[in-house]
Symmetry: C2
Subunit: 228 residues, 2 copies
Protein backbone atom coordinates (compact mmCIF):
# COMPACT_ATOMS: atom_id res chain seq x y z
CA UNK A 1 0.00 0.00 0.00
CA UNK A 2 1.01 3.62 -0.49
CA UNK A 3 1.03 5.28 2.92
CA UNK A 4 1.13 9.06 3.34
CA UNK A 5 2.21 10.29 6.79
CA UNK A 6 2.54 13.84 8.11
CA UNK A 7 4.61 14.68 11.19
CA UNK A 8 6.28 17.54 13.02
CA UNK A 9 4.73 21.00 13.33
CA UNK A 10 4.06 23.86 10.91
CA UNK A 11 5.49 27.37 11.36
CA UNK A 12 3.68 30.51 10.22
CA UNK A 13 5.95 33.49 9.57
CA UNK A 14 5.51 36.72 11.51
CA UNK A 15 8.38 38.25 9.56
CA UNK A 16 11.59 36.94 8.04
CA UNK A 17 13.13 36.02 11.39
CA UNK A 18 10.15 35.17 13.65
CA UNK A 19 7.37 32.64 13.36
CA UNK A 20 4.58 30.95 15.30
CA UNK A 21 5.35 27.27 15.67
CA UNK A 22 3.24 24.32 16.70
CA UNK A 23 5.59 22.32 18.80
CA UNK A 24 6.02 18.71 17.73
CA UNK A 25 9.20 16.64 17.61
CA UNK A 26 7.93 14.31 14.86
CA UNK A 27 8.84 11.28 16.98
CA UNK A 28 5.44 9.58 16.74
CA UNK A 29 5.19 10.08 12.96
CA UNK A 30 8.70 8.67 12.58
CA UNK A 31 7.77 5.57 14.52
CA UNK A 32 4.59 5.04 12.51
CA UNK A 33 6.54 5.46 9.27
CA UNK A 34 9.10 2.89 10.43
CA UNK A 35 6.33 0.41 11.31
CA UNK A 36 4.96 0.52 7.75
CA UNK A 37 8.41 0.51 6.14
CA UNK A 38 9.31 -2.63 8.12
CA UNK A 39 6.34 -4.36 6.46
CA UNK A 40 7.51 -3.28 2.98
CA UNK A 41 4.89 -0.60 2.43
CA UNK A 42 5.76 2.51 0.46
CA UNK A 43 5.82 5.58 2.72
CA UNK A 44 5.72 9.27 1.82
CA UNK A 45 6.51 11.42 4.87
CA UNK A 46 5.56 15.10 4.77
CA UNK A 47 7.30 16.76 7.69
CA UNK A 48 8.95 19.87 9.13
CA UNK A 49 12.65 20.68 8.72
CA UNK A 50 13.27 20.39 12.49
CA UNK A 51 11.33 17.11 12.97
CA UNK A 52 13.11 13.80 13.53
CA UNK A 53 12.93 11.47 10.52
CA UNK A 54 13.55 7.79 9.77
CA UNK A 55 16.95 7.12 8.21
CA UNK A 56 17.15 7.27 4.40
CA UNK A 57 15.95 3.90 3.05
CA UNK A 58 14.24 2.19 0.15
CA UNK A 59 10.50 2.73 0.11
CA UNK A 60 10.66 6.08 1.91
CA UNK A 61 10.27 9.56 0.39
CA UNK A 62 10.57 12.60 2.67
CA UNK A 63 9.21 16.04 1.80
CA UNK A 64 9.82 19.04 4.06
CA UNK A 65 7.33 21.89 4.39
CA UNK A 66 7.01 24.88 6.72
CA UNK A 67 3.67 26.64 6.47
CA UNK A 68 0.03 25.54 6.27
CA UNK A 69 -0.09 26.89 2.70
CA UNK A 70 2.94 24.71 1.82
CA UNK A 71 1.26 21.75 3.46
CA UNK A 72 -1.94 22.12 1.44
CA UNK A 73 -0.07 22.56 -1.84
CA UNK A 74 2.12 19.52 -1.09
CA UNK A 75 -0.64 17.25 0.23
CA UNK A 76 -3.33 17.69 -2.43
CA UNK A 77 -1.59 15.72 -5.23
CA UNK A 78 -0.25 13.16 -2.72
CA UNK A 79 -3.67 12.50 -1.16
CA UNK A 80 -4.95 11.70 -4.66
CA UNK A 81 -2.26 9.05 -5.23
CA UNK A 82 -2.04 7.34 -1.80
CA UNK A 83 -4.24 4.73 -0.12
CA UNK A 84 -3.91 6.00 3.43
CA UNK A 85 -3.21 9.34 5.11
CA UNK A 86 -1.98 9.31 8.72
CA UNK A 87 -2.08 12.99 9.60
CA UNK A 88 -0.07 13.38 12.80
CA UNK A 89 1.33 16.81 11.99
CA UNK A 90 0.59 19.65 14.42
CA UNK A 91 -0.89 22.21 12.04
CA UNK A 92 -1.02 25.91 12.98
CA UNK A 93 -4.62 27.03 13.41
CA UNK A 94 -3.79 30.74 13.11
CA UNK A 95 -1.45 32.67 10.86
CA UNK A 96 -0.11 36.20 11.45
CA UNK A 97 -1.75 39.07 9.60
CA UNK A 98 -0.21 42.21 11.08
CA UNK A 99 2.03 43.12 14.00
CA UNK A 100 2.42 46.59 15.41
CA UNK A 101 3.15 48.65 18.53
CA UNK A 102 0.49 48.60 21.22
CA UNK A 103 0.20 52.38 20.99
CA UNK A 104 -0.91 52.27 17.37
CA UNK A 105 -3.68 49.85 18.33
CA UNK A 106 -4.67 51.77 21.45
CA UNK A 107 -5.11 54.99 19.48
CA UNK A 108 -6.94 53.48 16.52
CA UNK A 109 -10.63 54.26 16.02
CA UNK A 110 -11.33 51.05 14.24
CA UNK A 111 -9.53 47.83 15.09
CA UNK A 112 -10.88 45.89 12.09
CA UNK A 113 -8.44 47.83 9.89
CA UNK A 114 -5.62 45.71 11.35
CA UNK A 115 -7.15 42.49 10.03
CA UNK A 116 -6.36 43.46 6.46
CA UNK A 117 -3.13 45.40 6.99
CA UNK A 118 0.26 44.00 6.04
CA UNK A 119 3.67 44.63 7.53
CA UNK A 120 5.98 46.29 5.03
CA UNK A 121 9.20 45.90 7.02
CA UNK A 122 11.05 42.63 6.50
CA UNK A 123 11.99 42.55 10.19
CA UNK A 124 9.42 44.18 12.43
CA UNK A 125 10.92 46.88 14.65
CA UNK A 126 11.40 46.03 18.30
CA UNK A 127 11.40 49.35 20.14
CA UNK A 128 7.98 49.37 21.81
CA UNK A 129 7.42 47.87 25.27
CA UNK A 130 4.30 46.09 24.03
CA UNK A 131 3.27 44.82 20.63
CA UNK A 132 0.06 43.41 19.25
CA UNK A 133 -0.18 40.60 16.71
CA UNK A 134 -3.38 40.07 14.73
CA UNK A 135 -3.94 36.54 13.45
CA UNK A 136 -6.48 34.84 11.21
CA UNK A 137 -7.65 31.25 11.10
CA UNK A 138 -5.89 28.93 8.66
CA UNK A 139 -7.83 26.54 6.38
CA UNK A 140 -8.57 23.20 8.09
CA UNK A 141 -6.35 20.85 6.10
CA UNK A 142 -7.97 17.71 7.53
CA UNK A 143 -11.39 18.80 6.21
CA UNK A 144 -10.07 18.89 2.63
CA UNK A 145 -8.70 15.35 2.52
CA UNK A 146 -11.88 13.44 1.62
CA UNK A 147 -12.81 16.14 -0.89
CA UNK A 148 -9.50 15.49 -2.64
CA UNK A 149 -9.86 11.71 -2.47
CA UNK A 150 -13.05 10.16 -1.03
CA UNK A 151 -11.48 6.67 -1.20
CA UNK A 152 -8.44 7.40 0.95
CA UNK A 153 -8.33 5.88 4.43
CA UNK A 154 -7.92 8.81 6.80
CA UNK A 155 -6.43 8.64 10.30
CA UNK A 156 -6.62 11.95 12.13
CA UNK A 157 -5.12 13.09 15.42
CA UNK A 158 -6.63 15.08 18.24
CA UNK A 159 -4.40 16.46 20.99
CA UNK A 160 -5.91 18.08 24.06
CA UNK A 161 -4.24 19.36 27.21
CA UNK A 162 -5.46 18.31 30.66
CA UNK A 163 -8.87 17.10 29.45
CA UNK A 164 -10.70 14.22 31.09
CA UNK A 165 -11.28 11.05 29.07
CA UNK A 166 -14.94 11.80 28.37
CA UNK A 167 -14.17 15.24 26.96
CA UNK A 168 -11.24 13.85 24.97
CA UNK A 169 -13.43 11.16 23.37
CA UNK A 170 -16.19 13.67 22.64
CA UNK A 171 -13.92 16.20 20.96
CA UNK A 172 -12.07 13.48 19.03
CA UNK A 173 -15.27 11.77 17.78
CA UNK A 174 -16.70 15.12 16.83
CA UNK A 175 -13.63 15.70 14.66
CA UNK A 176 -13.88 12.14 13.31
CA UNK A 177 -17.42 12.79 12.09
CA UNK A 178 -16.89 16.33 10.83
CA UNK A 179 -13.81 15.43 8.82
CA UNK A 180 -14.94 11.95 7.68
CA UNK A 181 -11.97 10.26 9.33
CA UNK A 182 -11.85 6.46 9.48
CA UNK A 183 -10.01 6.63 12.79
CA UNK A 184 -8.90 9.37 15.13
CA UNK A 185 -6.03 9.05 17.59
CA UNK A 186 -7.10 10.87 20.75
CA UNK A 187 -4.35 11.89 23.13
CA UNK A 188 -3.57 14.41 25.86
CA UNK A 189 -0.31 16.27 26.37
CA UNK A 190 -0.52 15.58 30.11
CA UNK A 191 -0.04 11.87 29.37
CA UNK A 192 2.87 12.15 26.98
CA UNK A 193 6.44 11.84 28.21
CA UNK A 194 9.69 10.27 27.02
CA UNK A 195 8.61 6.78 28.15
CA UNK A 196 4.83 6.97 27.96
CA UNK A 197 2.32 8.04 25.34
CA UNK A 198 -1.21 7.23 26.38
CA UNK A 199 -3.60 7.34 23.42
CA UNK A 200 -6.90 5.91 22.18
CA UNK A 201 -7.56 5.01 18.57
CA UNK A 202 -11.25 5.64 18.04
CA UNK A 203 -13.70 4.86 15.29
CA UNK A 204 -17.39 5.77 15.49
CA UNK A 205 -18.12 3.21 18.19
CA UNK A 206 -14.98 1.48 19.41
CA UNK A 207 -11.83 2.59 21.27
CA UNK A 208 -8.41 0.87 21.33
CA UNK A 209 -5.89 1.89 23.96
CA UNK A 210 -2.13 2.26 23.55
CA UNK A 211 0.44 3.20 26.20
CA UNK A 212 3.57 3.97 24.19
CA UNK A 213 4.50 5.37 20.77
CA UNK A 214 5.43 1.82 19.67
CA UNK A 215 1.98 0.57 20.69
CA UNK A 216 0.32 3.46 18.85
CA UNK A 217 2.31 2.63 15.71
CA UNK A 218 1.33 -1.06 16.00
CA UNK A 219 -2.32 -0.22 16.55
CA UNK A 220 -2.55 2.10 13.56
CA UNK A 221 -0.65 -0.43 11.45
CA UNK A 222 -3.10 -3.22 12.38
CA UNK A 223 -6.20 -1.16 11.68
CA UNK A 224 -4.92 0.21 8.40
CA UNK A 225 -3.77 -3.16 7.05
CA UNK A 226 -6.71 -5.13 8.52
CA UNK A 227 -8.99 -5.32 5.50
CA UNK A 228 -6.34 -5.48 2.84
Amino acid sequence: MKILITSGGTTEKIDQVRGITNHSTGRLGKQIAERFLAAQHQVTLVTAPSAVKPSVQEGLSVLEISTVADLIETLEPLVKTHDVLIHSMAVSDYTPVYMTDFEEVEHADNLAQFLTKQNTQTKISSQADYQVLFLKKTPKVISLVKQWNPAIKLIGFKLLVNADKKELFQVARNSLNTNQMDYVLANDLAHISAEQHLAYLLDKTKAYKAQTKAEIADLIFEKVTDHD
Copy 2:
Protein backbone atom coordinates in the same frame (compact mmCIF):
# COMPACT_ATOMS: atom_id res chain seq x y z
CA MET B 1 40.50 29.39 27.38
CA LYS B 2 36.92 28.74 28.47
CA ILE B 3 34.66 29.70 25.60
CA LEU B 4 30.91 30.14 26.02
CA ILE B 5 28.86 30.04 22.82
CA THR B 6 25.12 30.46 22.30
CA SER B 7 23.37 29.24 19.14
CA GLY B 8 19.96 28.40 17.71
CA GLY B 9 16.82 30.40 18.53
CA THR B 10 14.65 30.82 21.60
CA THR B 11 10.93 29.98 21.70
CA GLU B 12 8.41 31.83 23.86
CA LYS B 13 5.29 29.85 24.71
CA ILE B 14 1.86 31.10 23.67
CA ASP B 15 0.29 28.07 25.32
CA GLN B 16 1.33 24.45 25.84
CA VAL B 17 1.30 23.63 22.14
CA ARG B 18 2.16 26.91 20.38
CA GLY B 19 5.14 29.23 20.63
CA ILE B 20 6.86 32.17 18.94
CA THR B 21 10.20 31.07 17.59
CA ASN B 22 13.20 33.00 16.37
CA HIS B 23 14.32 30.97 13.43
CA SER B 24 17.95 29.86 13.54
CA THR B 25 19.43 26.52 12.57
CA GLY B 26 22.44 26.84 14.91
CA ARG B 27 24.81 26.07 12.02
CA LEU B 28 27.07 29.09 12.54
CA GLY B 29 27.35 28.54 16.30
CA LYS B 30 28.20 24.88 15.66
CA GLN B 31 30.99 25.86 13.28
CA ILE B 32 32.41 28.41 15.70
CA ALA B 33 32.32 25.83 18.51
CA GLU B 34 34.14 23.31 16.32
CA ARG B 35 36.81 25.89 15.46
CA PHE B 36 37.64 26.42 19.15
CA LEU B 37 37.40 22.71 19.99
CA ALA B 38 39.88 21.92 17.22
CA ALA B 39 42.39 24.20 19.00
CA GLN B 40 41.83 22.41 22.34
CA HIS B 41 39.79 25.15 23.98
CA GLN B 42 37.02 24.23 26.39
CA VAL B 43 33.61 25.06 24.92
CA THR B 44 30.23 25.39 26.63
CA LEU B 45 27.44 25.59 24.06
CA VAL B 46 24.05 26.93 25.18
CA THR B 47 21.60 26.11 22.42
CA ALA B 48 18.03 25.22 21.43
CA PRO B 49 16.71 21.64 21.29
CA SER B 50 16.15 21.89 17.52
CA ALA B 51 19.54 23.46 16.68
CA VAL B 52 22.33 21.46 15.05
CA LYS B 53 25.21 20.67 17.41
CA PRO B 54 28.81 19.45 17.19
CA SER B 55 29.19 15.72 17.88
CA VAL B 56 29.75 14.69 21.50
CA GLN B 57 33.47 15.14 22.26
CA GLU B 58 35.98 15.93 24.96
CA GLY B 59 36.10 19.59 25.87
CA LEU B 60 32.47 20.26 24.86
CA SER B 61 29.47 20.70 27.18
CA VAL B 62 26.05 21.30 25.63
CA LEU B 63 23.12 22.85 27.52
CA GLU B 64 19.68 23.12 25.92
CA ILE B 65 17.29 25.95 26.74
CA SER B 66 13.98 27.15 25.26
CA THR B 67 12.89 30.54 26.55
CA VAL B 68 14.60 33.87 27.21
CA ALA B 69 14.02 33.34 30.94
CA ASP B 70 15.79 29.94 30.70
CA LEU B 71 18.62 31.59 28.79
CA ILE B 72 19.19 34.27 31.42
CA GLU B 73 19.10 31.76 34.27
CA THR B 74 21.52 29.46 32.46
CA LEU B 75 23.90 32.16 31.21
CA GLU B 76 24.45 34.19 34.38
CA PRO B 77 26.63 31.65 36.27
CA LEU B 78 28.37 30.61 33.02
CA VAL B 79 29.27 34.17 32.05
CA LYS B 80 30.96 34.54 35.45
CA THR B 81 33.18 31.49 34.87
CA HIS B 82 34.12 31.85 31.18
CA ASP B 83 36.68 34.02 29.41
CA VAL B 84 34.69 34.67 26.24
CA LEU B 85 31.02 34.78 25.24
CA ILE B 86 30.13 34.41 21.56
CA HIS B 87 26.43 35.15 21.58
CA SER B 88 25.09 34.00 18.22
CA MET B 89 21.68 32.85 19.52
CA ALA B 90 18.60 34.46 17.98
CA VAL B 91 16.83 35.67 21.11
CA SER B 92 13.09 36.45 21.09
CA ASP B 93 12.55 40.16 21.65
CA TYR B 94 8.88 39.74 22.61
CA THR B 95 7.06 37.20 24.74
CA PRO B 96 3.31 36.44 24.71
CA VAL B 97 1.19 37.96 27.47
CA TYR B 98 -2.41 37.19 26.47
CA MET B 99 -4.22 35.80 23.44
CA THR B 100 -7.92 36.16 22.81
CA ASP B 101 -10.64 36.42 20.18
CA PHE B 102 -10.67 39.60 18.11
CA GLU B 103 -14.24 40.29 19.25
CA GLU B 104 -13.23 40.52 22.90
CA VAL B 105 -10.62 43.12 21.97
CA GLU B 106 -12.92 45.01 19.63
CA HIS B 107 -15.57 45.37 22.33
CA ALA B 108 -13.23 46.30 25.16
CA ASP B 109 -13.26 49.85 26.54
CA ASN B 110 -9.68 49.74 27.66
CA LEU B 111 -7.06 47.79 25.76
CA ALA B 112 -4.38 48.17 28.43
CA GLN B 113 -6.22 45.55 30.50
CA PHE B 114 -4.94 42.90 28.08
CA LEU B 115 -1.32 43.70 28.90
CA THR B 116 -1.67 42.24 32.39
CA LYS B 117 -4.18 39.46 31.68
CA GLN B 118 -3.20 35.81 31.59
CA ASN B 119 -4.66 32.93 29.64
CA THR B 120 -6.16 30.34 31.93
CA GLN B 121 -6.73 27.62 29.34
CA THR B 122 -3.77 25.33 28.72
CA LYS B 123 -4.57 25.25 25.00
CA ILE B 124 -6.16 28.43 23.74
CA SER B 125 -9.45 27.82 21.93
CA SER B 126 -9.43 28.07 18.16
CA GLN B 127 -12.99 28.91 17.18
CA ALA B 128 -12.80 32.59 16.24
CA ASP B 129 -11.93 33.74 12.72
CA TYR B 130 -9.45 36.24 14.11
CA GLN B 131 -7.38 36.32 17.26
CA VAL B 132 -5.20 38.93 18.89
CA LEU B 133 -1.96 38.26 20.72
CA PHE B 134 -0.52 40.84 23.12
CA LEU B 135 3.23 40.66 23.65
CA LYS B 136 5.74 42.40 25.89
CA LYS B 137 9.43 43.08 25.42
CA THR B 138 11.85 40.55 26.87
CA PRO B 139 14.92 41.62 28.86
CA LYS B 140 17.95 42.32 26.62
CA VAL B 141 20.24 39.44 27.53
CA ILE B 142 23.25 40.97 25.79
CA SER B 143 23.04 44.11 27.95
CA LEU B 144 23.44 42.02 31.13
CA VAL B 145 26.65 40.24 30.16
CA LYS B 146 29.21 42.87 31.21
CA GLN B 147 27.25 43.53 34.40
CA TRP B 148 27.65 39.86 35.28
CA ASN B 149 31.33 39.77 34.33
CA PRO B 150 33.08 42.99 33.22
CA ALA B 151 36.21 41.03 32.27
CA ILE B 152 34.58 38.65 29.79
CA LYS B 153 35.36 39.15 26.11
CA LEU B 154 32.00 39.66 24.43
CA ILE B 155 31.23 38.99 20.78
CA GLY B 156 27.70 39.98 19.82
CA PHE B 157 25.71 39.43 16.63
CA LYS B 158 23.48 41.77 14.69
CA LEU B 159 21.24 40.40 11.95
CA LEU B 160 19.32 42.76 9.69
CA VAL B 161 17.18 42.02 6.64
CA ASN B 162 17.74 43.86 3.36
CA ALA B 163 19.73 46.72 4.90
CA ASP B 164 22.50 48.53 3.04
CA LYS B 165 26.05 48.23 4.35
CA LYS B 166 26.08 51.69 5.89
CA GLU B 167 22.91 51.06 7.89
CA LEU B 168 24.13 47.60 8.90
CA PHE B 169 27.41 49.03 10.24
CA GLN B 170 25.60 51.84 12.03
CA VAL B 171 23.10 49.57 13.78
CA ALA B 172 25.79 47.02 14.64
CA ARG B 173 28.23 49.61 16.06
CA ASN B 174 25.42 51.20 18.03
CA SER B 175 24.76 47.79 19.63
CA LEU B 176 28.52 47.30 20.16
CA ASN B 177 28.72 50.53 22.16
CA THR B 178 25.45 50.16 24.06
CA ASN B 179 26.20 46.61 25.16
CA GLN B 180 29.97 47.03 25.69
CA MET B 181 30.78 44.31 23.15
CA ASP B 182 34.39 43.78 22.12
CA TYR B 183 33.29 42.78 18.64
CA VAL B 184 29.99 42.56 16.81
CA LEU B 185 29.34 40.31 13.84
CA ALA B 186 27.13 42.28 11.44
CA ASN B 187 25.23 40.29 8.85
CA ASP B 188 22.14 40.46 6.68
CA LEU B 189 19.68 37.66 5.98
CA ALA B 190 19.65 38.63 2.29
CA HIS B 191 23.31 37.54 2.07
CA ILE B 192 23.01 34.21 3.85
CA SER B 193 22.48 31.00 1.90
CA ALA B 194 23.68 27.41 2.05
CA GLU B 195 27.01 28.29 0.39
CA GLN B 196 27.50 31.91 1.36
CA HIS B 197 27.39 33.88 4.58
CA LEU B 198 28.57 37.43 4.09
CA ALA B 199 29.43 39.09 7.40
CA TYR B 200 31.61 41.80 8.92
CA LEU B 201 33.31 41.51 12.28
CA LEU B 202 33.43 45.05 13.65
CA ASP B 203 35.12 46.70 16.58
CA LYS B 204 34.82 50.41 17.29
CA THR B 205 36.90 51.42 14.29
CA LYS B 206 37.79 48.46 12.11
CA ALA B 207 35.84 45.96 10.00
CA TYR B 208 36.90 42.47 8.88
CA LYS B 209 34.99 40.76 6.09
CA ALA B 210 34.06 37.07 5.85
CA GLN B 211 32.22 35.30 3.02
CA THR B 212 31.34 31.91 4.52
CA LYS B 213 30.51 30.41 7.91
CA ALA B 214 33.97 28.83 7.98
CA GLU B 215 35.58 32.24 7.39
CA ILE B 216 33.42 33.77 10.13
CA ALA B 217 34.51 31.04 12.55
CA ASP B 218 38.17 31.61 11.62
CA LEU B 219 37.87 35.37 12.00
CA ILE B 220 36.24 35.18 15.43
CA PHE B 221 38.78 32.56 16.50
CA GLU B 222 41.69 34.80 15.46
CA LYS B 223 40.38 37.90 17.20
CA VAL B 224 39.47 36.06 20.39
CA THR B 225 42.81 34.26 20.70
CA ASP B 226 44.92 37.18 19.43
CA HIS B 227 46.12 38.68 22.72
CA ASP B 228 46.33 35.51 24.74
